[in-house]
């Protein structure tokens, strides 16, 4: 029994670093995080999401409901200005406070 456990432990110790090496973290892509405290419901968020997707430089918009944040990924070689992000919120008629966290 002990021998089995030792073998399994050795296998785990060998495999874990191997898996870590073969699954490197993805290269960091430029993102903007917008804090939307107390975001109340779907239409506020989906409206902003829609307006953000309309920007040329936006690659993806992820709604992080639990964190009350919206994460905006930017396409390689393109950029999005803070003004464009603010304009997207305004165009979506987002009625609450928000804050761009990592300009």
């Amino acid at each position: 029994m002990d021998a089995v456990i030792k073998t399994l432990r050795a296998a785990v110790l060998f495999l874990v670093p191997l898996l870590t090496l073969t699954d490197p973290l993805p290269a960091e892509e430029p993102t903007v995080i917008v804090s939307v405290p107390g975001i109340p419901g779907p239409y506020c968020a989906y409206g902003v999401e829609k307006r953000l997707y309309a920007l040329d430089g936006v690659k993806a918009v992820v709604l992080l409901w639990e964190r009350e944040q919206i994460r905006v990924s930017i396409k390689d070689g393109l950029s999005v200005t803070l003004e464009q992000i603010r304009a997207a919120f305004k165009s979506a008629q987002y009625p609450y406070d928000y804050r761009i966290l990592n300009p």
Partner: protein, 327 residues
């Protein structure tokens, strides 16, 4: 001077009494069973990610599984009978016979497909002209197959033939009769009248099939929100049951209110319960068979069911069997 003051005071007292009589003293009557979880989400493919619009037809519940980009069809026992994927933000679904209509909020498109998944047609583009959308948010189909779409950012309703030909539109932004502030959902009653959840005017408006304004209810008009019985704080979704009663998802008040077809309050449901057994954000409602009502809870990622007892007019033909007009 003294007389004038007395008259003003009397007026205030009288209007206060009338307000109390009409509004505040209305009983908060729970008229159905407590919320029961439905379709527990454990079955393969049953997990929901921000469910919104619901439709019930022929014994199946259709759910707009918004952040999974899918429409799911559930059997009565909560198992997944079918699913359709590839949407961006499907927020509403309507079913007419063998045909599904899906409103996609992000892509400004209506998709029409057969229940076996075959695409029949798509229509819509971004914009504010006839046939264009800026975030379609609700959809319903009448007995003739005409399709009505709530056009969220354009503050209007558009009517199409079943194959997507533009027929007419009405609305515009505002608080007056026939205007909207972000309409989110549509239902059609037995008389073919169109009921619209005028979400940010916190009211329900009723129209003829040609878009003529007929009536409204909720608050005291003019976009007044409230927590009192018969008022709304964001009238998010609605549904008409086979007997013509109207269920309204009152999102920020975390309840469903039930009305007669002309807007008389019958009571509320879903407001009981605490913690996990409390509605968090009712985003869709659908009346099923035998008084059962389904509610999608956006933030809880689940569907609830409540039993609302036998029909008040059970002898009437169930229109949902022929054409489901709910989303």
């Amino acid at each position: 001077m003294r007389k004038a003051l007395l008259s003003i005071m009397a007026l205030i007292v009288v209007s206060g009494a009338v307000t109390y009589g009409l509004v505040l003293s209305t009983p908060k009557r729970e008229i159905c069973s407590a919320l029961e979880p439905w379709g527990m989400g454990a079955a393969a493919g049953a997990h929901l990610n921000r469910p919104m619009g619901l439709a019930w037809a022929d014994g199946f519940l259709y759910v707009a599984d918004t952040e999974n980009g899918a429409i799911k069809k559930f059997a009565d026992d909560g198992t997944v009978a079918a699913r359709w994927t590839g949407f961006k933000r499907p927020v509403a679904v309507a079913v007419a016979g063998d045909t599904l209509y899906v409103a996609d909020f992000l892509s400004d498109r209506i998709t029409r497909l057969r229940s076996d998944g075959t695409l029949i047609s798509q229509w819509g583009r971004s914009g504010n002209g006839n046939g264009a959308f800026d975030a379609p948010s609700g959809i319903a189909v009448d007995r003739r197959g005409n399709v009505y779409v709530a056009d969220f950012y354009n503050h209007r309703i558009q009517k199409f033939s079943s194959d997507g030909q533009f027929l007419l539109q009405w609305g515009g932004k505002g608080r007056w009769n026939g205007q909207f502030r972000f309409p989110t959902e549509i239902a059609i009653n037995d008389q073919g009248e169109i009921l619209v959840a005028d979400a940010y005017n916190h009211r329900i408006q009723r129209f003829s099939a040609q878009g003529e304004y007929l009536a409204q209810w909720g608050g005291i008009g003019f976009g007044m929100a409230g927590k009192w019985p018969g008022w709304f704080r964001l009238a998010k979704a609605l549904n008409v049951d086979p007997r013509g009663d109207v269920y309204v998802a009152d999102a920020f008040n975390r309840r469903i209110q039930k009305f007669t077809g002309t807007g008389d309050l019958l009571g509320q449901l879903g407001s009981r319960g605490t913690g996990d057994r409390r509605l968090r954000y009712p985003a869709g409602v659908a009346a099923g068979r035998k008084g059962r009502v389904y509610v999608s809870d956006f933030f809880a990622n689940r569907i609830w069911q409540v039993e609302c007892g036998p029909s008040r007019n059970a002898a009437r033909t169930d229109p949902a069997g022929a054409v489901s007009t709910q989303s």
